[in-house]
């Protein structure tokens, strides 16, 4: 960030096109409407078209796209919970719950793969909500501490008691259609999550959720049962991650202890912080940038996690508002120097 020259200060103003297209958009022409809707449409079209580019991108980058979609969902879910003041350091709990329950529904109940994914991820998010219910009285740091501990404990319990396939995991999870089908399922889920959750947060319902983050004592004093709202927020907010876990389980045909691995906790967190905490789209953009980079770093093994973490600290310190918010500001506003 440049500092102002002596005797000047920075002034930020909304661009005229933003004012016209937002406030008097009835009069706006196509150009102005496109200015508003353009970025959203472009992102949506990109998501929908990418699976069709398979002959040009090759199988490998299509798989990366699938993983990126899963991580984008996880990052969006992280950002949603952050908006309620529930900062999770253990998103792999949701991811693993979705994966394992999908595998169980598919193999024990012999359900078709699509049903297994949907039922399994729903059951996964509900299970997580119930698991976290006793600790929802906690806030801030204490909640984060518990979420950090839960996936660790789960992988230990699975390793020690050999339930759920023990260290080898559950193998033979049936595949869900073709790669493109899995991709489009996740694209649909991602679009629903980004736009739906953002809309939810902008509604009156979201007002209460934000208020819980900002001052939960005040919310309780207004006669609102904070615990119940947080429980609902966890159930809704963990669903995207748990769906991502379910779909990836059907993709790999196996779900194991690695579903509770640290990567799935750190990556969504890094993505959301890098992209811009507070907005759903920012989290998705962050993950879309991070996953291809992390694929390029695949040869370095666990050094990737180190890289995420270094990036996370750098992003927190250097660009606290996030890349997405930075870009959005540039898009909607311009800056100039004015004499003091």
């Amino acid at each position: 960030m440049r500092t102002a020259p002596a005797g000047y200060r920075r002034e930020r103003l909304d661009r005229g096109i933003k004012v016209r297209s937002e406030d008097v958009f009835v009069l706006a022409g196509w150009g102005e409407l496109l200015y508003r809707a353009g970025p959203r449409l472009a992102a949506t079209v990109l998501l929908l078209v990418f699976p069709l580019l398979r002959p040009w991108t090759g199988e490998y980058w299509q798989t990366v796209f699938l993983v990126a979609l899963a991580m984008m969902l996880a990052a969006v879910s992280w950002a949603f919970l952050e908006n309620v003041g529930l900062v999770s350091l253990g998103h792999s709990l949701f991811f693993g719950a979705g994966g394992y329950l999908t595998a169980l529904v598919a193999l024990e109940l012999r359900a078709p793969a699509l049903v297994a994914v949907l039922v399994g991820s729903l059951a996964g998010s509900l299970t997580c909500a119930l698991l976290l219910a006793p600790v929802l009285r906690l806030r801030g740091v204490y909640f984060s501490l518990v979420t950090f501990a839960l996936p660790l404990l789960f992988s230990r319990i699975i390793e020690a008691t050999k339930i759920l396939g023990g260290t080898e995991g559950i193998v033979g999870v049936p595949g869900l259609g073709s790669l493109a089908a899995r991709q489009y399922l996740l694209v649909a889920a991602l679009l629903a999550a980004v736009f739906g959750l953002q809309r939810l947060l902008d509604s009156d319902y979201g007002l209460v959720l934000h208020a819980i983050r900002d001052n939960d004592v005040g919310v309780r004093a207004s006669g609102i049962a904070v615990g119940r709202w947080k429980l609902a927020a966890i159930a809704v907010g963990s669903l995207p991650t748990s769906l991502a876990g379910g779909v990836l389980a059907t993709h790999y045909h196996v779900v194991g202890m690695s579903a509770f691995a640290l990567d799935y906790s750190v990556l969504p967190l890094t993505a959301a912080v890098l992209g811009g905490p507070g907005t759903m789209a920012g989290a998705a953009v962050g993950a879309a940038l991070l996953v291809p980079v992390s694929e390029l770093l695949r040869a370095f093994g666990t050094l990737r996690v180190v890289a995420y973490c270094a990036l996370l600290v750098a992003a927190l310190v250097a660009v606290p508002e996030g890349l997405f918010s930075l870009a959005r500001r540039r898009y909607y506003q311009f800056e100039r120097w004015v004499p003091v």
Binding site: L89, F148, A149, C309
Partner: protein, 292 residues
């Protein structure tokens, strides 16, 4: 009868181990409100520093241990100025930043391949002692003594030294403390460095009980979490009591139910304490407000 005694004795040893491991985290959090999630990373880092000085450079044991503690304290200072200070007062950003720093340290070690059998530390005291009918190696008794000693030392530090009093003043009434001329950054640096040094002390004493492994760093965070929630941060006594309860409970669980159950105890304890006494077994109302 001797089984009960052995559970109690090894429970006591386990309690000392837990206390040592959690002390650094709890001290930093209690004194300056900084949740230092890099604690587990510093713990393993100092273990490796000590190992390197001892095995590779051939320093005497005591000197190598002191080197480990010193490096940890320096890392604590760096951690405060580079990672924590830019996001100070944004509690959740503090959590995320220190968590990232800790994971980065641990995973860096994993990548460097420091996971084989050669990575171990020698016991502080060799040999074993027979207490009645139970044989215990002297190192475990030394751990108990060191935990008790450190607990007392910290208690004295907080009540009898100017720095200790200043730190407690910051924790209790920040604005009054600031108006009395207590320097905030200095105090926070001291608290993080002290917590990191305590992690190193724990590493030197506890790591010889097994191999140095990366997962112990994550375990250390788990232990610190469980003890902090169960005991509360305001009083060292709460932490000691929590360590005793959890230590005996985990040893008893692993004897009665099987070895893998001990880790479930932590979670059960956290949930039970949160449900019944959210401010911790010895916590007071002030903490209750902050937590719940």
């Amino acid at each position: 009868m001797s089984e009960v005694l052995s559970v109690l004795l090894y429970g006591l040893v386990q309690a000392a181990v837990l206390l040592l491991v959690a002390l650094g985290f709890s001290v930093t959090f209690g004194l300056s409100g900084i949740p230092n999630f890099a604690h587990g990373g510093v713990y393993i880092l100092s273990g490796f520093v000590c190992w390197y000085l001892l095995r590779k450079l051939g320093w005497p044991h005591l000197l190598a241990a002191a080197g480990g503690v010193a490096v940890a304290a320096v890392v604590g200072v760096l951690l405060y100025w580079l990672v924590i200070r830019p996001v100070r007062r944004l509690v959740l950003a503090e959590v995320i930043a220190t968590f990232a720093a800790g994971v980065a340290m641990l995973e860096l070690f994993r990548w460097m391949g420091l996971v084989t059998y050669e990575f171990n530390l020698p016991p502080v005291v060799a040999g074993s002692v027979t207490l009645g009918e139970l044989a215990v190696d002297a190192h475990r008794l030394a751990v108990v003594a060191a935990a008790a000693g450190l607990g007392l030392l910290l208690w004295w530090f907080g009540r009898a030294t100017r720095t200790g009093l200043a730190l407690r003043a910051m924790a209790q009434e920040e604005y009054t403390a600031l108006s009395l001329g207590i320097r905030e950054d200095f105090m926070a640096t001291v608290s993080v460095a002290l917590g990191s040094a305590l992690a190193a002390v724990a590493a030197v004493l506890v790591l010889p009980l097994g191999l140095i492994s990366i997962n112990l760093g994550y375990d250390a965070m788990l232990v610190a979490l469980a003890l902090t929630v169960v005991g509360g941060t305001e009083r060292t006594a709460g932490l000691v009591l929590a360590a005793l309860l959890l230590g005996v409970a985990t040893v008893a669980a692993s004897v009665v139910l099987g070895p893998h159950w001990s880790e479930v105890i932590y979670l059960a304890a956290i949930v039970a304490v949160l449900a019944v006494r959210p401010s911790g077994i010895l916590g007071r109302l002030k903490e209750l407000e902050e937590r719940v």
